[in-house]
């Protein structure tokens, strides 16, 4: 396998020092999986990086130590992994992020289910139109779930300048992302939040952000068709949206990687 047109082995040093982008890392790890001599080399290089870590040693304070030991005493440990990929040494680390994603996903699912239940209760009976809406909601929910459960899903959060927090869950492989925001400042009726993909070639509208539905969280939006260098931006626009942003973004999220 070749990385960027060169011998993948040359990436071993950069990889062992985390001096690689996420896509480079993923590609190199796929290469590692089938290359015993590479794994052997990485093992040696990691011992060298451990020495670099040791050379930077700084004695923590007593308060730091007490806090860490207390946290451990109150935290349940992970069971041993079964069938862990040999090259993913920091799988525990990833497991944490996975579980954060899962937590986020179940909050979303609860939110969506709650909204549907409220609709059903208000109507008393499920009409054809409502069934259609439920189906649409489920389809949408499936699209959201597909992104959240993508193997390379990565979550980014950023504060919104005017209040609230934006969250993007991104799958570089699928070139798709889910956007949502909580506690956005309420806008006057004449204005709405609009989402944009902002790339080197300009801004493309990515949809109007629905008002907060449940718990102050905007219904998640699925945005596909990402291109290299895209960032996600949110602007305040006249209600109904604009073909181009007419105000500076209140939040801008870099997606990292090169897709």
């Amino acid at each position: 396998m070749r990385l960027g047109g060169s011998d993948p082995h040359t990436l071993a040093g950069a990889y062992a020092m985390d001096a690689v982008s996420e896509p480079d890392r993923a590609r190199f790890e796929r290469h590692l999986a089938g290359c015993e001599s590479c794994r052997q080399e990485i093992r040696g290089l990691r011992e060298a990086t451990a020495a670099l870590a040791a050379a930077a040693a700084v004695q923590p304070s007593d308060a730091f130590r007490d806090a860490a030991l207390r946290a451990a005493a109150q935290t349940r440990q992970l069971p041993p992994a079964v069938g862990q990929a040999p090259e993913s040494w920091t799988a525990g680390d990833r497991g944490r992020r996975r579980s954060e994603l899962r937590g986020w996903r179940s909050r979303l699912a609860v939110g969506v289910a709650g909204a549907l239940a409220a609709v059903a209760l208000a109507g008393g009976v499920v009409t054809y139109g409502m069934q259609h809406r439920l189906d649409q909601a489920q389809l949408h929910d499936h699209a959201v779930a597909a992104v959240l459960s993508a193997p390379d899903a990565a979550m980014m959060t950023a504060p919104v300048r005017t209040g609230g927090t934006a969250t993007v869950v991104m799958s570089h492989r699928e070139r798709v992302l889910v956007f949502t925001a909580v506690d956005l400042r309420l806008l006057p009726a004449a204005q709405s939040y609009e989402l944009w993909l902002i790339g080197p070639a300009g801004s493309r509208p990515a949809g109007m952000v629905p008002g907060p539905a449940h718990g102050g969280m905007a219904d998640p939006m699925v945005v596909s068709g990402l291109r290299a260098g895209d960032r996600v931006g949110l602007t305040v626009e006249p209600a109904g949206g604009s073909p181009r942003p007419t105000s500076p973004p209140v939040v801008l999220v870099s997606l990292g990687g090169t897709h």
Binding site: A19, G44, A48, A50, A55, Q59, L69, A71, D93
Partner: protein
Amino acid sequence: MTEGQGRRGTGRSRAARGDAGQVPRTSPSPFTGARGHADELGALLALVARGDQDAYRAFFDRTARHVLGTVLAVVRDPAQSEEVAQEVLLEVWRSASRFDASLGSAAAWVATLAHRRAVDRVRSEQKAAERELRVPSSSVAYDEVTEAVEARLDRERVRRCLGALTELQRESVTLAYYGGYTYREVAELLGVAVGTVKTRMRDGLIRLRDCLGVDS
């Protein structure tokens, strides 16, 4: 021996080591050059995986300064660094059972977790412009009074071995490891071709490994 500052864990860890004594102590340590240190850490980690809090304390006292120092080197901001270092050390406790000794020593595992988490933090914030270049020989902060003897030995060995690299190798390695930069960023900073930087990083680390006498 009295337990002075910076050696706090020694007495406790000896008591907590328990069945760690069964492990043959033959391999040289990447940390100290003393024989057996690495294997003891691995044995402690095996106890930690079974929920042994004394073993965790002992493990903490041997590795927390490496974790904090590494994170500080990359993240720079002390408050954020402490937060990240706490996360890493809690991750050690949580996922001790996931440690696979066939992939490297416990010391390397902890260092990898710490560095990875530090790099994730700075890259997710994309504050590269606010970070200054960090050259470890002059700017790694440490207090000689509280520093353990072995930590000083580590530092001197690594400094000596770094001194044996070519300038480009050394710059590539230190900017990547202590600066938290990607190889592309390092190439940009040094005004050198990307391919050259990749090669220098690998050659530099290999030389460092050989100089330190690290088992692989």
